[in-house]
Symmetry: C2
Subunit: 352 residues, 2 copies
Amino acid sequence: MTPASRPATLQTIGEFGLIRELQKYCQTLHADVIQGIGDDAAILRTSNTQALIASTDLAIEGVHFDFAFESFKDVGHRIAVANISDIAAMGGTPKFLLVAMAVPPSYAVKDLRALYQGFKKPCQAHGISLVGGDTSASKAGLFLSLTILGEVPPKQVLTRQGAKVGDKVYVTGTLGDSKAGLQILQRQAKHKTPKAPQPYEMFLKKRHLRPTPRVAIGQHLASHHLAHSAIDVSDGLSGDIHHLCEASQVGVELWASHIPLSSQCQAYTASLRHNPIDFALAGGEDYELLFTIAPRHQSKVFDLSKSLRTQMTCIGEIKPKSHGLRLKLEGGTSRNMTRQSYDHFSVTGIQS
Amino acid sequence: MTPASRPATLQTIGEFGLIRELQKYCQTLHADVIQGIGDDAAILRTSNTQALIASTDLAIEGVHFDFAFESFKDVGHRIAVANISDIAAMGGTPKFLLVAMAVPPSYAVKDLRALYQGFKKPCQAHGISLVGGDTSASKAGLFLSLTILGEVPPKQVLTRQGAKVGDKVYVTGTLGDSKAGLQILQRQAKHKTPKAPQPYEMFLKKRHLRPTPRVAIGQHLASHHLAHSAIDVSDGLSGDIHHLCEASQVGVELWASHIPLSSQCQAYTASLRHNPIDFALAGGEDYELLFTIAPRHQSKVFDLSKSLRTQMTCIGEIKPKSHGLRLKLEGGTSRNMTRQSYDHFSVTGIQS
């Protein structure tokens, strides 16, 4: 390539050139953004009657994402959804996003544009303004830190803490798809000449790359005081039900046969002779909502499921703490449910 | 060492063990923290009458800090101040801090405790609650992303935009000390057996490691409508005056002989036969406030300086944009002031 046709990198445009590029993705005209990117801090209007909710999420190349099998746009989209999902789990309305990013100077400007296009898609869908951030050089891959700010009426907020003995445990959508999609993507990146694609692969890959944050469902559960507690399934069902039970000081019985699985995940795991339930229990990044409700509200959840056209499945019941966390298997036996979430610092990757 | 006496690392305590450790530093009893760390997001009470201000800052091992010459506690303190200073520059009250952190699994738990002690010191001094964050493994050093949230009455907010032709340009404290301190620290880390320490060294090192965010000054300038514009000096005077003039669409004449320099910085630069003005122009991380006021308010700034016991120096005057950004030297000649800020992506490190 001649120098003129070489794609611009951060080295060629510099830090302030990059900031100018990224400002194009920052909507400063949103009524609640008094001032967006470009000063020491963003200035934001919040509502009189609502509490602010704030969450920050890291995403690191080689740990949380891998450009061997996903594009910059994919990564931006997925990471933004992970962040939005934290607000959905509290029953809140996501409003503002800040992006801090450390980038190797050799990275192409067009790739970072694609990353921001990825952020923008789910933000636009949910009325979220990108209002600021920070940029720096990185010596080892792309580091992203997203902070999302949302609002919720304080008396409606959903937390992990309110689960009550006797509550029914529900989950939206299907579980395990994201882990299956990730495995397929990883395998295809390794073996450059894949076998003929299976019909289920496209669906599962998309479930990993384009997850859906359950914002409307969280808001409805919160505003109608339907749920006693909620969490988003980001660490796998076994990990997240542990978080919820620990915060609420309760036990749980989950019913393996009720855990919602897509036909595609079942077909994929069958091809590997794996149990799809293990994908649901240990698979992260589904971003479905796990919530508990009083049994008398079950018909309301059924109506909500119909009106929002989203599957909501009762998968178990909250028990006293002494019961522990147990999984009832088909045939009536049950076993202790160990936490199978990913532990970033453990040698095995599994949390003890 | 026997295995029992080996200091605990993240590998030994795991991700959730780390989170439990760090929760000790998160104050959940602050009246405005409805719920702090431990759920999907923090829930925060904001004021009816104030706008929210939000800023995020990256700090990366080997780029922004170096454990060869500063401790984990030093780094925590300095990075928190950098973040708090962004709120000070807007005239706001800092309130909440979120910390996202990627750490190599081999790092000792006690070092991360020290890092959080470093965060805690300036946070306590300014009534800021640490309310949440995220943790992950890193393959290449410590990566920190801090997000600070503050409040400001919308009609009082200070930005970079309001400088008017004829305004006097002021700066708090002295400039260049932090850069001098950093150089001394770097040199001493390189030459393990240093020469006898010079009397100015302790002061300059402390100015780098323990900067002071000018929160009270920013608030006073804002609430008394004294300043037309403000910015914190984090990129060096030459870089930050560029930011301010660009945002305000004005030019400036700065007076080299008026730029406030500590006797210690002068002694240090004299020992190197360097011009201390260059340290003020190009040195980052002073975290002093640079602001512009109408000339009629000069006596009020003088009073404020006395009551807050903080040096405030008039260093120049805002000019029309056509004047450009010029530095008047002793003897009456003047030169164009080029931006000498650090550019993370430039090969030379200097922004063009």
